[in-house]
């Protein structure tokens, strides 16, 4: 087994890399932290999830402070949907504790592996979305729930060079997806930003940029709902969480500054490969330990 000091050093470097790569392509570092800890260092999955969950709060809060200035994220939509994600995250955390306690950790590995592979597909969707950006598929028709809950707004789109108004559609469906996103976040120690964006972008038909920035804003609050439970349960090991938390925050800080300038296509391809490999490995680990 690895020496503690070697672990601290390697994990710090790996976390910086995960945070950096994650923010460059728009996916949270948590997706990579858990596989690195479990597959790379043989850390039991609950401690990996605990460490990841804490680091997710750091990246989200750091990113959100930058995005607030852009005035892209929708505070009301985020707050409303956080009611769903936090509830889901509490249930997810309870589920994780149950699975670990009943020797069913393999379920977590299988779900995690699936999420990694699905996320790799989503990266392609993002690339496509950015290319054909048009305001045609943005909903602007008010409906009963979106009016009652004021789920609308307007953002300035630089590529269209105009202000784009929008209004949420299928609010109940979006709320349900957010409940699922929260559950998955709590279960796996992720931000589950991908599912949040799908909920807002596809289900509620909000503009993609509003969806991604609002999702970033929501992630930290979602994570906090389960992080506290994991902390009290003893899943947050301070030696393990130390290098992960500062590493991911540092990495994503650097990445979010760089991402404004470049559109790193090759990084996305690299990330897709990393996600698929990690996904297959996690599935394998799950199947082996059934």
């Amino acid at each position: 087994m690895v020496a503690t000091e070697t672990f601290l050093l390697l994990m710090l470097v790996a976390s910086v890399g995960a945070g950096w790569l994650g923010s460059m392509v728009g996916i949270g570092g948590g997706l990579l932290v858990v596989p690195i800890l479990t597959l790379g260092f043989g850390v039991p999955v609950q401690y990996a999830i605990g460490a990841s969950m804490v680091s997710v709060i750091g990246t989200s809060s750091g990113a959100a402070s930058a995005f607030i200035k852009d005035r892209m994220s929708n505070f009301k939509i985020g707050t409303f949907l956080n009611a769903a994600t936090t509830s889901g995250a509490v249930i997810g955390a309870v589920l994780t504790i149950f699975l670990v306690g009943s020797g069913l950790s393999w379920v977590i590995y299988l779900v995690f592996g699936t999420v990694l592979i699905v996320s790799s597909f989503d990266l392609y969707r993002k690339v496509r979305k950015e290319r054909q950006l048009s305001s045609a598929d943005i909903n602007t028709t008010p409906n009963r729930l979106s009016t009652a809950l004021e789920l609308r707004g307007e953002y300035f789109d630089p590529s269209l060079n105009q202000a784009v108004p929008y209004e949420a559609e299928r609010v109940a469906g979006g709320f349900l997806v957010m409940l699922m996103a929260g559950l998955l976040a709590g279960l796996l120690g992720l931000g589950s930003g991908t599912l949040k964006v799908i909920g807002m972008d596809i289900v509620m038909r909000l503009p993609f940029k509003v969806s991604t920035t609002t999702s970033n804003f929501m992630i930290g609050v979602t994570a906090a709902a389960s992080a506290g439970i994991f902390f009290l349960k003893g899943y947050v090991d301070l030696v393990i969480v130390g290098p992960v938390a500062i590493g991911v925050v540092m990495g994503s800080f650097v990445g979010s500054r760089l991402v404004r300038r470049s559109k790193p296509m090759y990084l996305r391809v690299l990330f897709v490969i990393v996600l698929v490999v990690a996904g297959v490995e996690m599935l394998q680990k799950g199947v082996i330990s059934i």
């Binding site: 087994m1 690895v2 750091g58 200035k69 930290g220 709902a225 009290l232 130390g242 540092m250």
Partner: protein
């Protein structure tokens, strides 16, 4: 129109305040964790270093937080590396609570009672999760 602009201004100031608080919170927490990690490589006072292997750290439950504020405070006074890391983690855990609360205050300033209620609901879920579900699950 003037009224709307003024409301926008209040909202913008509060949002900037939230942004700053978030950033400094994260910086403070990262700094504490970093100091804790750096201190761990020096054997200060009664601290004899982490267990030599990662396996040892996990199997002995060495990195488990202390759950008493009194104990944590006493250890912080002795610059125990783990307690400094724990303080950093606690700062990080507190940030979203703070953020939801400030968001709620922002809606109070706007007299948007619907969203004051929704913010309160989110805060309630966070509090119930951490202080009711958490202790039950920890037993």
């Amino acid at each position: 129109m003037k009224e709307g602009e003024k409301e926008d201004r209040v909202e913008y100031d509060l949002e900037s305040a939230i942004g700053l608080a978030l950033r400094y919170g994260v910086v403070l927490s990262s700094a504490l964790i970093a100091v804790g990690l750096v201190l761990s490589s020096f054997k200060v006072g009664s601290f004899a270093g982490f267990p030599p292997t990662l396996e040892g750290v996990i199997s002995t439950g060495y990195g488990k937080p202390v759950y008493s504020m009194g104990t944590l405070g006493a250890q912080l006074g002795k610059f125990e590396p783990l307690s400094i890391i724990e303080a950093g983690v606690l700062v990080l855990l507190a940030i979203p609570f703070f953020r939801v609360a400030v968001g709620g205050i922002m809606f109070v300033a706007e007299k948007n009672w619907k969203y004051v209620a929704i913010s309160a609901l989110v805060l309630a879920v966070l509090l119930v999760g951490t202080f009711i579900v958490g202790p039950i699950e920890a037993r």
